[in-house]
Symmetry: D2
């Protein structure tokens, strides 16, 4: 998050500092984020992830390492899928991880990661509207997640629509679609 | 940034927490962000700010209070303009402030604010491409700034293209257009 | 379409002329064109038509009179729906009519109109991708239909993706999604 | 425009027909259409043409042969440039030609082509807003031009914002930016 503030607190050097730039790991799991319109069948489905083109549009200057783990609707995500995500979080060297995820079970995956992945800062994010739509919230959410993950202390968080939640203090309101705190 | 971690560090309550939702002040000053195409004259100029429609697209669930202070190209921003911005930062009650700003002199304004506005968390952001263009980085940057401002300790920062910089450790590279650390 | 070329063919006045501007009737029936993403349920459905905002983006200088007749997926369009469309075509005073329509049964509706609506120029058009997506063909198709309807002789036509077909010389290839001539 | 209606006018075969698909030549000359934002200098300039990606978005099923002749603001177009365009129109085998052109002197170029290129159908079009902007009229205008060029009799026309004008019956209103008939 911020550099250690040890030493003389009155000195200039002791001032909290913004993070030095370090690689951020970005895991793609699908979700509304990456849904596309199938023009033959008139349905929404998955093809390739939009994350690389989003990072290009964002003119991202972070060292972001993208890996697609799966492309699923989060309602269809299994325990095995969540175990795979947790293992990947443990195995990669980066301490800062962003995961794009369907919104319906994002909180469930956050809980699994909180139990199994200590000592890393993990931020889950997603979109209410597919990126392929002109009016998606996805680029805003991705900007929020990639920026805040560098600053938060180790833990598991959900970043959606401008807000940051602890994994154990958030739910998706099924009626309104809005992520809200339990507190 | 995070709740105070004083007290028994082994207790659940001592764990760092994501921020409780609090209002964020958003000051608009113009910049590339808000430039539009004048179809009569074929030039780029300013009309109304795009911030409210961007917050709508973002489905922002933050309590964001928007105020337009000026609509200028940052190359034309004067000392008086910067004094006005500093006074506004001091006067509003919110401790978390995001400022949209042209990129060319964003660092200059950050320095003025660092000198005059103690005890608030101020994040300046902008865009390399006007929001009115389909391929703007603005929504990504706005998401980053509004999310990270809630978490950073008091100070003045620049958040651009996924990175967060201390006000005194950043410059815009005039040749490449990229914000980069001095360190 | 063009002014009558009777009279002295060598005179300047005998040259074919572009159409004088006259009102065009635009009937909306739904189809892929107007499908939107329901962010609560993750499905595609209909809300308001996008035609007025499309005409605004197009900076249309035609006198276009828009009327929404229905908002349906064309696979669910009934004989009664098609009769209603035919009656509306007969009743409105405008001789030039554009109809936005789902692609799956566009040719079926064209046949009904060819049987029941003589002496008017009717152009059906649609989109392979919803307008709400950033990458829709809809604005292109709408431009084609509204422009060409002023020039074609009375009859019923399908205008899609840059091509114009007679109602009795076109089919949608179900495998490729492409409209193609029978000839 | 339509097939020859010679022969027995009462027969089915005598009915006017939509055009058989034939290649359309598309000449690119620049103009607002192709202006882009230079993020280093904050200016509007030209790089590559957007026409191929526009035809892809349009899912164009026409056989369109694109050739970039120049990339200029039409206020800077010279007599030599217009002669080059006229020669190209004469030399290509296609009888149907669309030209993308800046709006300020589109009518001047149309006049030159009307004097020098007989027996071809030429439609000039452009955009009030650069294609690179999300809200451009360009895709609508391109759809109109490419569709109507197949149907109009030989001559030179301007197709903008849903209307079609004869080359000698149109001007751009400098105050409003709107193309309007002289009649």
């Amino acid at each position: 998050m911020v550099d250690d503030v040890s030493g003389d607190p009155s000195s200039e050097r002791a001032r909290p500092r913004a993070p030095l730039s370090a690689p951020v790991r970005l895991f793609v799991t699908g979700g509304t984020f990456d849904k596309e319109y199938d023009e033959i069948h008139g349905t929404l489905d998955f093809r390739d992830t939009h994350l690389p083109e989003m990072l290009e549009m964002a003119r991202s200057r972070l060292d972001v390492k993208v890996r697609t783990l799966m492309m699923v609707d989060s309602l269809e995500m299994t325990d095995a899928d969540r175990s795979l995500i947790a293992r990947q979080c443990l195995e990669v060297p980066e301490p800062h991880i962003v995961i794009t995820h369907g919104t319906d079970t994002m909180v469930d995956t956050a809980r699994v990661l909180a139990e199994r992945v200590p000592d890393k800062t993990i931020v889950l994010t997603g979109a209410m509207i597919p990126i392929a739509f002109g009016s998606s919230d996805g680029l805003f959410n991705l900007g929020g997640a990639l920026t805040v993950v560098q600053v938060l202390p180790p833990g598991v968080y959900v970043a959606m629509n401008g807000r940051v939640f602890d994994w154990d203090d958030v739910r998706k309101n099924a009626a309104t679609g809005v992520f809200e705190a339990l507190r």
